[in-house]
């Protein structure tokens, strides 16, 4: 009754922003699964825009997606911003044979820092940004000193003391070793089951919603555990 005659309007407040940086390996070895990855990425954009799969309505006003692709160089395919109406992500294409994982992650961290500065400059509230790193192999060429230095940095950045961003590594394929991926992502790495990119991105959109729905004091658990799309590297499976 009252609702029908209620002529009120909400304050024109900005929704807090949630930045998600996708760092995608497009080196040659990713070629066999690239079609599925692109399809899943498109579906991810559509889920956010159309609030499919339980994505809350306000996610479209909060989630800023950044897409970076790397092989021998790092390319920003989408700068951080909200999705446009009907936006389709750029198609990821495999390129060189070099995998400059550390450079890509450093660029992602810089992107996060720059965006946080922008939020602060413009006084926009924001949730802790999130970096998702997807690769099917070791950095190539492999530089132990560089990896060791980066390992320290990412462990500090994601520690309870710094809390600069959250990070997750997704290992693609059965042959990937968890050792380096875990070092590059402060231990937060998962092994993708086959080519379950679609399930992964469904989980990602749900997790972003969890972040944007989180309350003060809430430690948001983004641990996917033993899920449809991924498994811990150390999972023991009986054949």
């Amino acid at each position: 009754m009252g609702k029908e005659r209620f002529r009120g309007e909400s304050a024109p407040n900005l929704e807090p922003k949630c930045l998600c940086v996708l760092v995608m390996d497009v080196s040659g070895s990713m070629e066999p699964c690239m079609a599925e990855l692109n399809t899943a990425l498109k579906s991810f954009f559509k889920d956010i825009e159309e609030c499919r799969g339980g994505v809350p309505e306000n996610t479209i006003d909060q989630l800023e997606i950044c897409v970076m692709a790397f092989d021998e160089e790092v390319k920003v395919l989408r700068n951080p911003c909200l999705l446009e109406d009907g936006e389709v992500p750029k198609t990821l294409k495999c390129r060189g044979s070099v995998t400059c994982s550390v450079d890509a992650l450093k660029a992602a961290i810089q992107m996060v820092q720059d965006r946080k500065e922008f939020y602060k400059d413009t006084n926009q509230p924001y949730y802790r940004p999130w970096i998702v790193f997807m690769t099917d192999g070791e950095p190539y060429p492999y530089n132990e000193a560089e990896i060791a230095a980066f390992e320290k940095q990412v462990a500090y950045d994601t520690s309870d003391k710094a809390k600069k961003y959250m990070i997750m590594g997704i290992g693609v394929g059965d042959d990937i070793s968890d050792k380096t991926l875990k070092r590059l992502t402060a231990g937060h790495a998962r092994n993708l089951r086959g080519t379950s990119f679609g399930s992964f991105f469904k989980w990602l959109s749900a997790s972003v919603s969890t972040i944007t729905s989180s309350k003060p004091g809430q430690k948001v658990n983004l641990n996917p555990g033993n899920s449809e799309w991924g498994k811990p590297f150390d999972e023991e499976v009986e054949l």
């Binding site: 009754m1 009252g2 609702k3 005659r5 209620f6 002529r7 009120g8 309007e9 909400s10 304050a11 024109p12 407040n13 900005l14 929704e15 807090p16 339980g54 809350p56 309505e57 306000n58 400059d121 413009t122 006084n123 926009q124 509230p125 924001y126 949730y127 802790r128 999130w130 309870d160 003391k161 809390k163 959250m166 990070i167 997750m168 937060h188 969890t210 972040i211 944007t212 729905s213 989180s214 309350k215 003060p216 004091g217 809430q218 430690k219 948001v220 658990n221 983004l222 641990n223 996917p224 555990g225 033993n226 498994k231 811990p232 999972e235 023991e236 499976v237 009986e238």
Partner: protein, 406 residues
């Protein structure tokens, strides 16, 4: 087939996904305070099983037994809070005390109401509601907000709102306990210090000292309680904010720790603020009564420039007073408004007249208590697009005086 280890891990994670992981906000000092109100983590270390099935009772009886109220204050209580007693069941098993309202027209599931209050007062009415957030509907957890309205006699009124922390295990009971503790302690203060006999409000410094003492006493209460329980529970498990305003014939006294909003409408109908919320760098960070904010510090503890606790003394008689948890602020408060001159967003920190005035106009038209409660629920739940989209618990406590002719 997955081995036992993985199976246990997956069960554990299911439990954690339901928001039952204990909060990790054990803030220990000033600087950490801003750091440890965490947003998120991909941490995956399992917690102890006792974290999941610990039963702690924190009841109204507990409060009466504590030393905060050795001599119960003899102040009339006209509150009609329908759920004023603290729930003494573990939060994991808490069920909404009001049945969920099913929309008879389209069958849409509506959120549960955990607390609803209504009081006719001599010169108006007070109405309050705490509604389960949509994110809590999704994971089937109860509303963690609570509120309380009490008439203290002689046209003195107490309004309190508390918002429980996201995944603190017993934050729902923490918010109820906060409201009841504020009530007990404020009444004690008014009686023992003969406040009603005084013809002037305390100065801001005097009020700060008293309000701080109230919050310190509340914090001590939790410490004593968890020591008494001796079952592994900690103060962190009850994390909840507290904001309250004492309305008197001379003006208002407000105090708070945490986020949320309080404001009032002046005699001229202008909406004003009664607090600035305590916020951290990230969007979902704040401070709770149970945090370690009491440690002496130089300079004193402030969150983004706001003292902890923050108090206000207002020498103005209001036509309406509103308190709300942060779940209502996107709709009813001007918090992040674009300043087109500077291209920056500004926390204007004022009630939004475009929401508040029509809300009061609407409620004033209602002819019965039930009608008014129903309208209040409907408007906060889905009166605007922003109300509909909000995922957080919503609490609003509104006192409207009859001279309010908006």
């Amino acid at each position: 087939m997955i081995k036992l280890k993985s199976y246990i891990h997956s069960i554990y994670n299911k439990i954690r996904h339901r928001g039952e992981h204990p909060s990790v906000l054990a803030s220990k000092d000033c600087k950490q305070m801003q750091e440890d109100t965490s947003t998120g983590s991909v941490a995956d270390s399992p917690t102890q099983s006792s974290d999941i099935v610990n039963e702690v009772e924190l009841s109204a009886k507990d409060i009466e037994q504590t030393d905060v109220n050795n001599e119960p204050a003899e102040i009339s209580k006209e509150s009609t809070n329908e759920t004023e007693n603290l729930n003494n069941q573990p939060q994991e098993e808490e069920k909404p005390e009001f049945p969920e309202i099913a929309d008879s027209h389209n069958g849409v599931r509506k959120p549960a109401i955990s607390c609803c209050s209504y009081s006719e007062i001599t010169n108006g009415y007070a109405i309050g509601i705490s509604i389960q957030g949509r994110s809590h509907m999704d994971d089937d957890t109860p509303c963690q907000d609570y509120h309380l309205f009490e008439s203290l006699g002689d046209e003195w009124y107490l309004t309190v709102v508390s918002d429980g922390a996201g995944s603190a295990r017993f934050s729902g009971r923490g918010s109820k306990a906060n409201c009841n503790l504020v009530s007990t302690l404020v009444k004690q203060l008014i009686v023992e210090d003969n406040w009603k006999e005084k013809t002037v409000l305390p100065t801001e410094l005097e009020w700060y000292i008293e309000a701080r003492a109230i919050f310190e006493k509340m914090k001590l209460f939790y410490r004593a309680k968890v020591e008494e329980f001796n079952d592994g529970s900690t103060e962190d498990d009850f994390y909840a904010t507290a904001l309250f305003t004492i309305i008197t014939p001379m003006g208002m006294l407000s105090a708070h720790i945490g986020d949320g909003r309080m404001g009032y409408s002046s005699q001229s109908g202008e909406w004003k603020s009664l607090m600035k919320p305590h916020k951290g760098e990230e969007a979902n960070q704040t401070i709770f009564v149970q945090n370690n904010w009491t440690n002496p510090r130089v300079p004193s503890l402030k969150l983004r420039g706001v003292s902890v606790p923050e108090v206000r003394v207002v020498h103005e008689v209001p036509t309406a007073v509103v308190l709300m948890s942060d779940g209502c602020e996107q709709s009813a408060w001007e918090c992040t408004i674009l300043d087109r001159e500077t291209n920056r967003y500004v926390d204007v920190n004022l009630p939004h007249p475009g929401f508040m005035n029509p809300l009061i106009e609407n409620l004033n038209l209602d002819e019965s208590e039930e009608e008014r409660k129903e309208d209040f629920f409907d408007i906060l739940d889905s009166g605007t697009k922003s109300c509909e989209k909000e995922r957080d618990d919503k609490t609003m406590l509104l006192v409207v005086f009859k001279q309010n002719e908006l």
